[in-house]
């Protein structure tokens, strides 16, 4: 089921927002590309709203969705 959510968020909350000094939480975000939008859940800073896109997500699912949209 993890596949559907793009990314399984580490439940331990090991990521910290440097600016706000608070742990990132599972939060609502959206990807936007070529006039298309997708709601996703990603690690987000609850204070400043910094959304984190981990490397494996960027190179994996995000890249493949980009390719698919580019060929639309």
């Amino acid at each position: 089921m993890a596949e559907k959510n793009y990314y399984t968020i580490d439940p331990q909350g090991k990521l910290t927002c440097v600016k706000c000094g608070v742990p990132l939480v599972k939060g609502k975000a959206k990807f936007l590309y070529l006039d298309n939008g997708f709601p996703v859940e990603l690690p987000v800073c609850p204070v400043c709203g910094f959304v984190y896109v981990p490397e494996e997500l960027a190179l994996g699912k995000v890249a493949s969705v980009e390719r698919a949209l580019e060929d639309k």
Binding site: K14, V18, A29, D35, F50, V51, L69, D71, K72
Partner: protein, 762 residues
């Protein structure tokens, strides 16, 4: 920092038709799908190539299945066929034609008969009758049975044996016995001992939907009738019949007659929708150079034994035209002949809604034009792909992602890294040296040496122009960007007094020669005239000359480069596919940006021609070969005794261009350029640098992220205490993982994505 507008939306519904006629005429040049000459000469359309392939593999069951498609009685046909196929066999031009008829005969004798047919097959409703005997009647009865018509033969003979004996009197005993068994096994009804006269005809006529007869019966019943030979049909009498000649003639007549029966059974005009009947013309090209066994296999008995037939069938060279696919890594990769691939690419451009699945193949061609040279008919895949790219751009369907890096690089070359200056001491110049963007990026020292040499030895002043000729925009199909580049270069050339362009790269020369009022010459031609400068040297080992695709069709340039190499004392080894037939290194057409895998295969294809070091006269070729670990030198490196060394990564290529420009500005024109200096340390691990090169992330992208972090402090810290910051630059978001050092930062990883990301409310 330049930026290119990303395509706005996937919801753009615009189609710009490429002329279908033009595309069809281009596609028609590919003869891959033309039949081999043996099949083209067979009026029954035997797939002789596949038949011989199966026979050569010893698969007589399959071979017989193929043969039975055209011959309901294979031993009868093979015993008497005139075999026009053999006359057209290409091997007959250099030796003996394959003895196709004898192989057919052996297959018919030894092959296991197909189990298809029989009484359990569902039958058509319309009934047919065949009156009389003879080869035509025999074949027609077989054809109609194959088409699943209930068929009844009315004959004067008293048994199957006597009827078959009259039909095929030439059969030997064994063949006769086999064909009799086959005849009895077919679902054909017989009425023997009939008197085929007008009374009989009158009685039977109403009982059958379609009546057929031998020509003798027709002449007896309707002496005045005149069957149409193309249809094997007497229209007035509604009678399927006709005169035939020979065994093959009878078989072909029966094929035509069976098609007429088909049409009549459906109450349709027998003239229409008959398709292509009989022999056809083929323009298939066949490479005869690999034909080995030119003499026919000797026969020990009356016909081939099974083993002899296998050996004889194995002599078939399986005529296929794959000239382009042999030489082009791109076509080989997609395993499609260019006619088919072009059709699919054309269709890709015409899709309004849905997936453009051919975008990647369309963008993977190096546009090098090799196929046009090696194709016997001059098929131009480059034109197909180039037109398709332009069309996709014009309909706003072209993704920017595959080409953006290269296009930004072109803008960088013609902005930050651009330089146009007359030779110090001149206001306008007779010449301008245009080394090309890749030369400045890969071998800046060589560019500098060449420029200083030209200034010293040419009269009338030599200006310098460092920039991109516009080929990148052209290759990407971005015709507007290419036009802007041309306009810009023309303005700059005009400021220098429209000098003669001395191009350092054959592709630049080609592109710049298209500019109005611009005369171009290759630096190689100038060097031949001036003589070699001091300091040049040859390679110590014999080397292979790789011809640039930019010089395809330019014999003068190819010869000039070889002359230069020889004057330097280089020993050149011959390679296959040289000169106009040279493959692309993988840089051309931006193939390496759109499809790294295919581009690597292109490079490999170039390098497999020789184990020797490579000399080239395009810096991109030099770079790609060196990246593959091959000793690789540009001819100008040898001329000027410089060595550009290990290939630079993408960031170094930019840095080299800027450094060359700023260095020359300082040394020759006394101008100081503003250099961006960081007031902190920025160190990259080797792994980070390699990762950035693979992911097309520049040092300046990383600097942008770090600068952003320094300004706004936005980053996250992971469980290992490492920092991750991000910044949107142009159409991509770059992420950098780093740690702090005493005086700055250590970059450990970098990645990017094109999607924008936002926090979502609700």
């Amino acid at each position: 920092m330049s930026q290119i507008q990303e395509r706005g939306s996937t919801h753009v519904y615009k189609v710009n038709k490429i002329s279908k006629e033009e595309m069809e005429s281009m596609v028609a040049r590919c003869v891959y799908e033309h039949p081999p000459f043996c099949s083209a000469a067979c009026p029954l359309k035997l797939d002789a190539r596949a038949f011989l392939e199966a026979a050569a593999a010893g698969n007589f069951r399959k071979a017989l299945q193929l043969y039975e498609k055209i011959a309901p009685f294979p031993l009868v046909l093979s015993a008497g066929c005139e075999a026009p196929c053999e006359g057209k066999c290409r091997l007959s031009e250099i030796g003996d034609a394959v003895a196709i008829r004898e192989v057919e005969s052996a297959v018919a004798r030894c092959g296991e008969a197909s189990k298809l047919g029989g009484i359990f097959r569902s039958k058509k409703r319309k009934s047919t009758a065949v009156l009389g005997s003879g080869l035509f009647a025999l074949f027609l009865a077989g054809e109609l049975e194959k088409k699943a018509y209930p068929v009844t033969v009315f004959c004067e003979q008293d048994s199957h044996e006597s009827w078959l004996r009259v039909c095929a009197p030439f059969l030997g005993d064994e063949a006769f016995a086999a064909e009799l068994k086959r005849l009895k096994g077919k679902d054909i009804q017989f009425e023997f001992n009939c008197t085929l006269d007008a009374v009989f005809y009158g009685e039977k006529r109403a009982s059958f939907d379609v009546l057929c007869a031998s020509d003798e019966v027709r002449a007896h019943l309707f002496p005045e009738s005149n069957p149409v030979p193309e249809l094997m049909f007497c229209e007035a009498e509604k009678f399927v019949t006709g005169k035939t000649d020979g065994v093959l003639g009878a078989a072909f007549g029966a094929k035509k007659a069976a098609l007429t029966v088909d049409r009549l059974a459906q109450n349709l005009d027998p003239r229409n929708t008959r398709g292509q009947e009989g022999t056809v013309e083929s323009q298939l090209y066949t490479d005869l150079s690999e034909a080995k066994q030119l003499s026919r296999v000797p026969m020990t008995g009356e016909g081939f034994t099974r083993e002899e037939a296998i050996e004889e069938a194995g002599r078939c060279i399986q005529c296929h035209c794959e000239e382009c696919m042999k030489s082009c890594a791109y076509l080989k990769h997609y395993k499609k002949h260019p006619g088919l691939l072009s059709k699919e690419i054309y269709n890709n451009t015409q899709i309004i809604m849905g997936d453009h699945q051919l975008n990647k193949p369309m963008n993977s061609c190096s546009l090098c034009g090799q196929c046009t040279v090696v194709c016997p008919n001059g098929f131009d895949m480059a034109r197909v792909c180039h037109l398709a790219r332009q069309n996709m751009v014009s309909t706003d369907k072209m993704p920017l992602a595959p080409h953006e890096f290269a296009l930004l690089d072109m803008l960088f070359s013609n902005n930050e890294a651009f330089l146009a200056r007359p030779q110090p001491g001149f206001e306008t110049c007779k010449y301008v040296f245009f080394p090309g963007c890749q030369a400045s990026a890969i071998a800046p020292e060589t560019v500098k040496a060449a420029y200083l040499d030209l200034c010293e030895r040419l009269e009338g002043g030599v200006a310098l122009m460092l920039g991109c000729c516009g080929a990148i925009g052209d290759w990407a199909g971005r015709y507007e960007m290419q036009e802007q580049t041309k306009k810009f270069l023309m303005q700059e050339l005009s400021k220098l007094g429209n000098p003669i362009v001395i191009a350092g790269c054959p592709t630049c020369r080609k592109e710049l020669s298209e500019l109005e009022r611009t005369e171009t010459v290759g630096i190689w031609d100038i060097l031949l005239k001036l003589g070699l400068p001091k300091g040049g040297h040859a390679l110590e080992r014999p080397a292979a000359m790789h011809d640039s695709c930019g010089a395809r069709g330019d014999a003068q340039t190819q010869a000039a480069i070889r002359e230069l190499a020889e004057r330097l004392g280089c020993e050149l080894v011959d390679t296959p596919y040289s000169g106009d037939r040279s493959p692309c290194c993988g840089y051309g057409g931006l193939a390496s940006f759109a499809n790294r895998e295919v581009a690597a295969e292109m490079t490999e294809k170039c390098l497999e021609r020789s184990d020797a070091p490579y000399i080239s006269y395009c810096m991109a070729c030099r770079d790609r070969f060196a990246r593959q670990g091959r000793e690789s030198r540009h001819i100008l490196e040898l001329v000027y005794g410089t060595d550009a060394g290990a290939p630079p990564d993408i960031s170094e290529k930019r840095y080299n261009r800027l450094t060359l420009k700023n260095g020359l500005l300082h040394e020759l024109w006394g101008e100081e350029a503003k250099e961006m200096k960081l007031d902190y340390d920025l160190i990259f691990t080797d792994a980070a640098r390699q990762m950035m090169d693979e992911r097309m992330i520049l040092v300046e992208d990383v600097i942008a992220v770090i600068e952003g972090f320094r300004q706004n402090g936005e980053a996250i810290e992971d469980e290992d205490g490492l920092l991750v910051a991000r910044r949107r630059v142009g159409n991509a978001t770059f992420w950098v993982k780093f740690s702090r050092t005493e005086n700055g930062f250590l970059v450990l990883r970098a990645w990017s994505h094109r999607m924008r990301i936002e926090k979502r409310e609700g």
